[in-house]
């Protein structure tokens, strides 16, 4: 574990150095290739005047809402599909149709139906998260060994008990990896939706921050936005998901 972070640190330093040297070499104009000093100054400035913090909070709050709604919906749909053959057919068809469809492709429709406010972004996020989650959950449910279901029968568990005591815990590793995919996809969907919609100023999130910096020709600012996105992505991946894994599947001995 330690080793992984040390390696990362080394490589990040090397890349940063490489970046800075390229910037200093004057090979590219600093309009195209700003140095790290400029980028961090832009980041500090935005953090200081409070706009960026508000925008990060806005983006995160939309993502969390979207993830919770999508996770709940996916759980219900996947469970229904597990217990009913007809529902399984329908949900399978829906997933097959909608899963390969990028949320951005639906943008014109969403604009007309839901306007360009927060709801629209939320819908893009839910769309990009729901289908991979259902797929993962269904795979998880269906790959539970038969012994488990037979044990449930032995103990005469009813459906509800079976669901909560066996089905969901047994497929938890799939659920977590589904959540990881969902997180990455929702993050991408959010940023692109915000950049495309040009959300209302007062409501703008990180995507809007980058768009605004771009419009005002502030490349260090654009990079500052990108750094924030990377930082949040890594933090969530390394700490929140790691914690979730150690407290559940690792503790239960399902994952090494």
């Amino acid at each position: 574990m330690e080793n992984k972070y040390r390696q990362r640190l080394v490589w990040v330093t090397v890349l940063a150095l490489f970046w800075q040297l390229t910037a200093w070499s004057g090979l590219f104009s600093d309009l195209i290739f700003p140095g790290l000093d400029q980028i961090f100054l832009a980041l500090l400035k935005s953090l200081k005047d409070g706009t960026l913090v508000k925008q990060i909070a806005f983006s995160l709050s939309i993502i969390i809402q979207g993830l919770i709604i999508a996770a709940a919906a996916a759980l219900i749909l996947a469970l229904t599909a597990y217990f009913s053959k007809y529902a399984d057919g329908l949900i399978d068809t829906l997933t097959a149709l909608a899963h390969p469809l990028p949320g951005i492709a639906l943008m014109p429709l969403i604009l007309i139906w839901f306007g360009s406010g927060k709801t629209a972004i939320l819908i893009v996020i839910i769309h990009s998260v729901l289908w991979p989650l259902i797929l993962n959950l269904s795979t998880g449910f269906n790959s539970i060994p038969d012994i488990y279901t037979l044990i449930a029968k032995n103990y005469r568990l009813n459906k509800l008990e079976f669901m909560f005591k066996i089905l969901i815990p047994a497929s938890f590793p799939y659920f977590i990896s589904g959540l990881k995919i969902a997180w990455a996809r929702s993050w991408r969907a959010l940023i692109s939706a915000e950049m495309l919609f040009g959300a209302i100023n007062s409501l703008g999130g990180l995507g809007w921050y980058i768009f605004q910096k771009r419009v005002f020709f502030d490349l260090p600012g654009v990079f500052a936005g990108i750094i924030v996105i990377i930082f949040i992505g890594v933090t969530v991946e390394d700490f929140i998901f790691k914690k979730l894994e150690t407290n559940t599947v690792r503790k239960w001995g399902m994952l090494k």
Binding site: V10, L27, S29, L31, S116, I200, R214, F216, F217
Partner: protein, 336 residues
């Protein structure tokens, strides 16, 4: 550790080699001219250059590429990357990039145009009537429409950001559709032909014109180019300037300009004629309002530095204004 160093050195080499090749390519390319075009009536003389092949006629060896880019920001970025030599845009986006250090200048004016803040709400008759939930659609922050709105707001309410939380970034076609749908968007700062189309709709009215917002006449679109292009390809620069002057003359003097352009704009010749002669549509190389934009944008913090000299922003004004006078003389003679 040795391995790391080796990798770094190799990466460096690759980058240097790649960029060296690129630089040579650009310098050698004297026979190609790339022009960015955008949709809009204010760009009519540029479309005329294209339709009449004025550049190819002036210099048959010249290879002209027309690049369609969706918005001013994309054009700016393409120019910075060296993919576009000449582009057309409003003065504020030009100034913003100039202020950030982009090495470019104005070649010439292109057009003046009526602009208008159109609303579909009955209760809105002036800027003061906007409620907090009314949304105003604009191309983007920092666009001429945004700056004009800020100018009007600053004059009326002495607070320049009054409506900044109510702005909605939309391109003109989307904004027009939203305005006609009448739900989310209450107002649209439109340019032609969208302005003309909207003003023909029932229930949509103009509450502020560009001229009122600016407090006078101003150039809507200017032609811009990089200093690198101006210095390294001065021959092509001259060819282009002559073609532009010819196109401006043509559109001002020859009635068949409307017929030639109608197809290009997907309009009937009659509509095209009506639009080209709409009050306030002027095609002239004169640059008006540069100082006012500069002063306002500096005062409101859109620009950092001030006291730019005109010569720092415009390539060769003498040539342009000289040409302009001959244009006018020509027009007068024709009139007689």
């Amino acid at each position: 550790m040795k391995k790391y160093i080796l990798i770094i050195v190799m990466l460096f080499l690759i980058i240097f080699l790649a960029s060296a090749c690129d630089i040579q390519d650009y310098a050698a390319d004297q026979t190609k001219l790339t022009i960015a075009e955008q949709y809009g009536l204010a760009y009519a003389p540029v479309q005329l250059i294209k339709e009449l092949s004025l550049l190819e006629k002036a210099d048959p060896s010249l290879e002209v590429e027309w690049k369609q880019l969706s918005n001013t920001t994309a054009i700016r970025e393409a120019m910075l990357a060296g993919e576009v030599d000449i582009a057309f845009m409003a003065i504020p986006p030009f100034l913003i990039a100039r202020d950030k250090g982009m090495k470019w200048k104005i070649i010439s004016g292109l057009s003046e145009s009526p602009l208008g803040l159109m609303t579909n709400r009955e209760y809105i008759n002036s800027l003061a009537d906007f409620k907090a939930e009314d949304r105003i659609a604009l191309p983007q922050p920092g666009s001429i429409q945004h700056i004009l709105l800020s100018m009007a707001v600053e004059r009326d309410f002495a607070e320049v950001n009054k409506f900044d939380d109510q702005l909605l970034t939309m391109n003109h076609p989307d904004a027009m559709n939203a305005l006609l749908a009448g739900r989310e968007v209450s107002a649209h700062f439109a340019s032609p032909p969208y302005l003309f189309l909207e003003s023909k709709e029932k229930g949509i009215k103009k509450i502020l014109s560009g001229k009122e917002a600016f407090g006078g006449e101003f150039t809507f679109i200017v032609g811009v180019s990089t200093e690198e292009f101006y210095q390294q390809q001065s021959k092509n620069y001259k060819v282009f300037l002559e073609a532009l002057t010819e196109a401006l003359n043509f559109i001002n003097q020859q009635p068949q300009a409307a017929d030639i352009l109608a197809d290009n704009y997907n309009l009937t010749a009659a509509e095209m004629k009506e639009y080209l002669n709409w009050p306030g549509m002027e095609f002239t190389s004169k640059i008006k309002g540069l100082e006012e934009f500069l002063a306002f944008m500096t005062a409101e913090g859109y620009l950092k530095e001030n006291n730019y000299q005109r010569s720092e922003l415009i390539f060769t004004e003498e040539l342009v204004t000289e040409k302009k006078e001959t244009v006018l003389e020509g027009a007068e003679q024709d009139g007689k």
